[in-house]
Symmetry: C2
Subunit: 228 residues, 2 copies
């Protein structure tokens, strides 16, 4: 009963009102993992979740399958599923890839950016600067990046970037709960907006690259723990 109380968040969530049960469970669990509500290693027991969501185990199983395919959980046959942890090496890789990809995306996006889009990005830029909780921080950060990326029309790149964001967000949140290492990011974001307004694609792309590399470095300083 009190054995595993880490899923108390889902109290009262019911499925019988919108889309398919599977997709609701999937989105809810995914969000809980991304935000860190469900910590690394938390076992996801089908029966338990079925009760929380007031459904049978079928939609739960489908959700867990999909989550595993996205790399967010890891299951062992007849043993069960747990929230997947991520190694330091993988974090590094993901940030390196982010840097590489976001540079390319910016290169294509900047020439297509409308003034409205830049205004929107700047709005998020300010929200970002005044964000208080780590949740607000990551949310506005994602919105800001996304607003700039939209103009690139590189849907596949963006989908890959999204999975990287999904899989690293909880670690970013953890970092930001401790340090307030967002100062440099705020500065870089403002400069980024300026470069976009000037339609300096190469400059914006290069700054984005460095921006992500900086984020990687400050995150790694805060993850000296295990490596799995």
């Amino acid at each position: 009963m009190a054995k595993s109380d880490s899923l108390h968040h889902f109290q009262g969530i019911d499925v019988s009102q919108a889309g398919s049960a599977s997709s609701i469970v999937f989105e809810t669990l995914k969000q809980a993992i991304i935000t860190g509500e469900l910590k690394d290693g938390t076992p996801l027991k089908q029966e338990e979740l079925a009760k929380k969501f007031s459904t049978s185990r079928i939609p739960i199983r489908e959700s867990i399958n999909r989550l595993e395919q996205e790399g967010l959980v890891k299951t062992i046959r007849y043993k069960g599923a747990v929230v997947a942890s991520i190694s330091l090496k993988e974090v590094e890789e993901m940030f390196d890839l982010r840097a590489l990809m976001e540079r390319e995306v910016m290169l294509k996006a900047v020439p297509n950016l409308t003034d409205d889009q830049i205004d929107e990005a700047e709005k998020y830029c300010h929200e970002f600067a005044s964000a208080q909780t780590s949740g607000d921080w990551t949310d506005t950060n994602r919105k800001l990046h996304h607003a700039l990326f939209q103009a690139s029309d590189m849907t596949f790149h963006l989908s890959v970037l999204n999975t990287i964001y999904d899989r690293t967000e909880r670690y970013l949140r953890a970092q930001l709960s401790f340090s307030n290492g967002a100062d440099r990011a705020v500065e870089e974001h403002h400069t980024l907006i300026e470069l976009c307004r000037a339609r300096d694609a190469a400059g914006a792309a290069e700054l984005m690259f460095q921006h992500v590399k900086h984020a990687k470095r400050s995150l790694l300083e805060f993850l000296p723990q295990d490596s799995e």
Copy 2:
């Protein structure tokens, strides 16, 4: 009965001997889609597949879910699943990303390559040159690239690359059935091996980049059809 005969390949495949039913069905379907045995738009009917695999619909549904998460099928609620097609724009994007990533991977791999690994790659290089069917071609091509990539120890990058290979292979096969545009590739592969032996990481990386860009170009020449 003769209505949809595009799944006749699975005759006799039975599930009751190895891993979980789900994973067997998943791998089999995935391979069939990758190779092009199941063409774009082919509907995947659960009952029909359940009979072919001698199981219930449950493992079929799980497989389809996982395939959808990998982008290989597309399902509509209460309507069914079909083999996902891919737009020209996505093909372009995937090859651009491949070029970008494989350059980075080579940059890290070359200094770590052992002589044995290079020998292995060269073996595939020769197999590739003498491959007859489009299946042999893509197989050895993948093996060759993979052999070189292993030394990079960039597991996440490789997983992304694998999904790109998975989602584009059938189009490459189709191309190679028509043209024999592999001549240039053979040449580039040999040069690539030379550069690896010389431990010229920058050179190998740059050649790999161009190699993928060339592949992209010759593929696009053969896909002037629809765009969806």
